[in-house]
């Protein structure tokens, strides 16, 4: 029973840790499916986290904070779009630039506005997305297994966690069941064909990039106003890259991408738990080993040792219209 409780707690942590990964990975997925490589997920999340925490500290409203987070992230996504779509710039250079730019700017502005070395003040409850108790969660908490699963695992998360998991079927539906999704995927595989059909490649890609910005904005807002209670410098700490890895691991498909995020989230949750603990079979696993595992797994996958990960054909190729 002890073990089961521990297991549920780890799964519960997995859900919380996976949420930003799922949102960011879906963001990257939509962008890359349209042919725009985005390694700037990290920067967009960081920018959104900072904007959300700053606005929440000023207004005390979590919803205005969410709008600010999304706004900043979409703005950054549009800069990326402007460079990659309009000016046929190098997608990786642009993404990298945005990451570096944001990591500096959040600290410079934060230090000036809040004088706490780049952090924002602790947010009040109204300024955050607080856990939602599901009906009856308290009552069934003592029921073994099912009650525990219900009260610990399903209930007691904040709104964004549920939104992230709902975003997966939504993005799936959008990409694979709508006309917009069909065109978006087509533009990532063969933009010439889409252009020939009289549909604007640029406009489609811009819409994909904006969706990417919205999702990253929610992910960033989650970090500073739901999972944490303030913005801390460099608080994304590589999550954007893990999300990128999860997207590749999920082979650019929504549901497998979510599963990859859950796997990486689980590893992170376990890493926190096993720190300094002797395990029965493995002994004392260095926490750095578990931390590095998502990256190692992604390299192994990319090398084609676990199936094959094939990106959209026109991914990262600027489209230059012939005159």
């Amino acid at each position: 029973m002890e073990d089961f409780t521990l297991f549920v707690l780890v799964l519960d942590a997995t859900m919380r840790v996976s949420t930003p990964l799922i949102l960011a990975a879906l963001a990257g997925l939509v962008s890359e499916r349209s042919g725009v490589i985005d390694i700037g997920l990290e920067g967009k999340m960081l920018g959104a986290a900072f904007a959300a925490a700053s606005v929440a500290a000023l207004t005390g409203s979590a919803w205005i904070a969410l709008c600010a987070g999304i706004g900043v992230s979409v703005l950054l996504a549009l800069i990326h779009g402007f460079a990659c779509i309009t000016h046929a710039g190098n997608h990786i250079v642009s993404g990298m630039a945005i990451n570096i730019f944001v990591s500096g700017l959040t600290i410079v502005l934060g230090a000036k506005w809040f004088s706490q070395g780049g952090s924002t003040p602790q947010l009040p409850h109204e300024g955050r997305f607080m856990p939602l108790e599901w009906p009856g969660a308290e009552a069934v908490a003592d029921v073994p297994v099912l009650g525990q699963l219900y009260s610990e695992l399903l209930s007691g998360h904040n709104l964004i966690v549920y939104a992230a998991f709902l975003a997966v079927p939504f993005i799936y539906w959008m990409l694979f069941k709508t006309r917009f999704g069909l065109r978006l995927r087509a533009v990532g595989e063969n933009p010439q064909a889409v252009d020939t059909a009289g549909i604007s490649v640029f406009f489609l890609r811009y819409r994909a990039v904006i969706i990417c910005g919205i999702l990253c904005g929610i992910a960033g807002t989650y970090l500073s106003t739901a999972m944490g209670a303030s913005f801390v410098r460099d608080m994304t700490a590589g999550k954007g890259y893990i999300a990128l890895a999860a997207m590749i691991f999920g082979k650019w498909k929504p549901v497998p991408t979510m599963l990859a995020c859950l796997l990486f989230g689980f590893l992170e949750a376990v890493a926190i738990r096993v720190q300094g603990v002797e395990l029965p079979i493995f002994g004392n696993i260095p926490v750095q080993f578990i931390e590095a595992l998502p990256y190692v797994l992604t390299v192994v996958l990319l090398a084609g040792f676990i199936g094959k990960a094939i990106p959209p054909k026109a991914d990262g190729v600027p489209y230059i219209k012939e005159h």
Binding site: I39, C84, G89, A97, V296, V299
Partner: protein
Amino acid sequence: MAGPIGSDIPRWANVVVLPIVNLIAAFLVSGLVVLIIGENPLEVVQILIWGAFGFEEAIGYTLFYATNFIFTGLAVSMAFHCMLFNIGGEGQAYIGGLGISLVGLQFGFLPPIVLIPLCMIGAALFGAAWAFIPAYLQAKRGSHIVITTIMFNFIASSVMVYLLVNVLIEPGSMHPQSREFAEAGIPPVHEALGWLGIKFAASPWNLSFLWALVCCVLVWGYVWHTRWGYAMRTVGTNPTAASYAGISETKSIIITMCISGALAGFLGLNEIMGYHHRLLLHFSGGYGFVGIAVALMGRSHPVGVCLAAILFGALYQGGAELSFEIPTITRELVIVIQGLVIIFAGALEFMFKPQVEAVFRWLTPRRSAAAAAE
């Protein structure tokens, strides 16, 4: 990184005028950021320049940072010539530092004249090894080098934290750092100048700087004056043509990336052998990423890389002074400028090309008249 497409301005303008225009754009936007913070951009520029070049110690620090950026900038440039994007300079530099430290910890008792070359070999081997795996995976298994090198940065960071916390830590110390393994290391420039009877203020600027300049010459020779460099550039511009000509793409990719990794690995010479004399956590401090900006600014040419490295060295040192002088500005302002330089000089490389071309047409009326007559 790509050559200009269908240009009707002279080559020198493309190489000199466009980067300068881009740089000015980046600085103007940085000025806006300063205005938002509520400081005077002109005052900031003044302090930056004074802080970077105003006194001997400042110049020393500027060139100390520039040395780092020459190494990482050359590393990124090298890979660019083969159309490879090596984002892994940070990880390669970090692991290169491990190579130096292992040599230093084993052979620290040797005289510097023997120890330093050994350290250079250690740095090059470890840096190259860390670049070899992504290169091999790209060449043989088709995995995207950008993603693998990003992943390898994180893996390097985890490996180094593990090693420093558990293995290499100085016994009895609370800080995750190795013991000091060489008292002398690479001599600082002020000492070297002292041998010649010239007085210069003390700073961490050391003779690694000379090695960085030698590396520039070597890279220049390799890229433009050897058959391997030619093969590499051919693979970079047209892999199909290269394979028709009997050039092995695999070999070019792997050799290029190994050289690139070795160059990044040399960062540790400056930071560890030249200054700290011990292995520290995060000693590579993001310098690997600055290398990307330096390579883009310098158009992947050693001369450009040197100039861009000095520019960024000045920004780093001036930025440190700046945060002393104006406490409301943190030194991360330099990172903002760095990001903007990458956006304008890299991603939006050709944004101002039509304008620059228009100015050139206006300056040379005869050519435009001839073009109109066609």
